[in-house]
Amino acid sequence: MSMVSATSASTGLSRPASGPAIVWRQLRAFRILLPFVALVGVWWAIYASADFSPQVLVSPLAVWRAFVNLVTHGVMAEYASTSLRMIGFATALSLIVGVPIGFAVGVNRYAAHTLESFLRFLQGISGIAWLPLAIIWFGFSHTTTLVIVIYTLIVPIIFNTMIGVRAIPETYTLALRSLGASRLRLVRDVYLPGALPSIVVGLRLGMGYGWRALIAAEMLVRQGGLGDLIFGARTFGQIDRIMTGMIVIGCLYIVVDRLIVQPIENLTVAHWGALRQ
């Protein structure tokens, strides 16, 4: 209380209007961290309330030590980079393959109608449900993991590309055809920019689903990655390691989503979306 008033008073001397604004902004930045702080608080309270065996629950401090230990020995970098490489490769491949398929289906009304239920059907069968078959076919390999992640990622990308293409007013294409546009021209000048906001939404959804499928697949395939890290730690009852891994999984998702995908989405939706008449 006294600190807040002191801050506003000292800045208030030079610039009266901005003083409270700065404090308010700092409070808002802190607001995002609030639930995390609360979670750690509850966790610590539970930990302190009873005498837990380290095989069941460890303190936040122990998890922090495990984290530092894993980072300093390069173990975390090894596992995390495997997961990140996987999701990156799967995303790139899904975009390269999924967007053209989405276009092809989207421009053809009959194809779109025919495939819509089928794509929903595939969305219903999660990637993890394909794991038994994939393991039989491709063994406990990176191929299995990739197949699962690409399958999970590509369906929302195809689906949203298709939706995006279908939402483009027909007059855009008719007008361009009257200007002598070829099919390739229509894709470049109408379908791609017109469907871009929707494609980015599909990409973001796909990466969210894909990340979860990746961790699950890594847990079963056991060829590296953060899923392997936490599942491997279970065998030795390393609760601290499991929890560290879980936190890193969540944090990496936030980093990828907030720092890479969401800015792209904001850019396209704010720019292209607002440009829709």
Binding site: P169, T171, Y172, L174, A175, L176, R177, S178, L179, G180, A181, R185, D189, V190, P193, G194, W272, A274, L275, R276, Q277
Partner: protein
């Protein structure tokens, strides 16, 4: 005027155009043995009750649909599909929202592979002609409805087609803007001799803009009457149009013809035919 001396100046010839389209309630006959001829350089307006098949005719001329029956010729050749030589101006939602005014207007030239320098020259001239100066780098969502239609018109003119098909291009803009756009279109057409087919359901607009007004019957549409309107080429504005007794008499005549179609209650032979075809 010299061109009129050569006998074959029929830019567009439609004969026996009969078209059906599918709806949830079965096939609907849009037009019935429609015949039509437009000379090169002529501005023809087409007026008729809603749903009389005006847009169907325009789509067939643009090459967006194939006629169920009959022929649609442009320069003596059957229309096979959309083409650069036949530009279309739609009612709305036709210019691309992700392109600036300048890039929308130059789009046809870009597709045609015209050099950047020449493209810029043409675009600048059309921006001047359509009163879009100062808005070159704006996006469509930053423009009023009237401005957007100016861009759509300018884009079609920039591509320099022989024939321009306009489907109620000013129907979605406010009444005051519409008057200005109509006057600007008259000026644009005197500056650039084009063959234009302009669809409208406004009688005044049809008479104001056209060298000839074609009146259509109600569905299934045919050409009911052709009325010549003198003096379009000399330029026109709404103030003088409203006090010109000759033009007002023509407008009244056209209005009468259109209202006959709207007011008709007894089912015509064609209508019974359409119902019979459905059953």
């Amino acid at each position: 005027m010299i061109e009129r001396d050569t006998p074959s100046q029929d830019k567009i010839v439609v004969s026996g155009f009969r078209h059906f389209f599918e709806t949830a309630d079965g096939p609907v006959q849009a037009t019935d043995h429609l015949d039509l001829m437009i000379r090169a350089g002529e501005f023809v307006t087409l007026v008729g009750p809603s749903g009389c098949g005006k847009t169907t005719l325009l789509k067939a001329l643009a090459g967006f649909i194939r006629p169920t029956e009959g022929t649609v010729l442009c320069d003596g050749k059957p229309v096979q599909g959309p083409g650069r030589e036949r530009g279309v101006v739609f009612q709305e939602l036709a210019i691309l929202p992700w392109r600036t005014v300048r890039r929308n207007i130059g789009h046809g030239l870009e597709i045609a592979g015209v050099s950047r320098l020449e493209r810029e020259r043409t675009v600048a001239r059309l921006i001047e002609l359509t009163g879009l100066a100062g808005f070159e780098d704006r996006y469509p969502h930053e423009l009023s409805g009237g401005m957007r239609q100016r861009v759509a018109v300018a884009r079609t003119w920039a591509a320099d087609p022989d024939v321009i098909l306009m489907d109620e291009p000013f129907a979605a803009v406010d009444a005051m803007t519409r008057l200005t756009l109509q006057e600007e279109l008259v000026r644009l057409c005197t500056a650039t001799r084009k063959t234009v087919l302009f669809i409208t359901h406004s009688v005044d607009e049809a008479v104001f803009l056209g060298d000839r007004v074609l009146v259509m019957t109600r569905r299934p549409g045919r050409i009911k009457a052709v009325i010549d309107v003198p003096g379009r080429a000399a330029g026109r504005d709404w103030e003088s149009f409203k006090i010109d007794a000759g033009l007002q008499a023509i407008a009244e005549q056209v209005l009468r013809l259109v209202r006959e179609e709207r007011g008709a209650t007894a089912p015509s032979a064609a209508m019974t035919h359409a119902i019979g075809a459905r059953a």
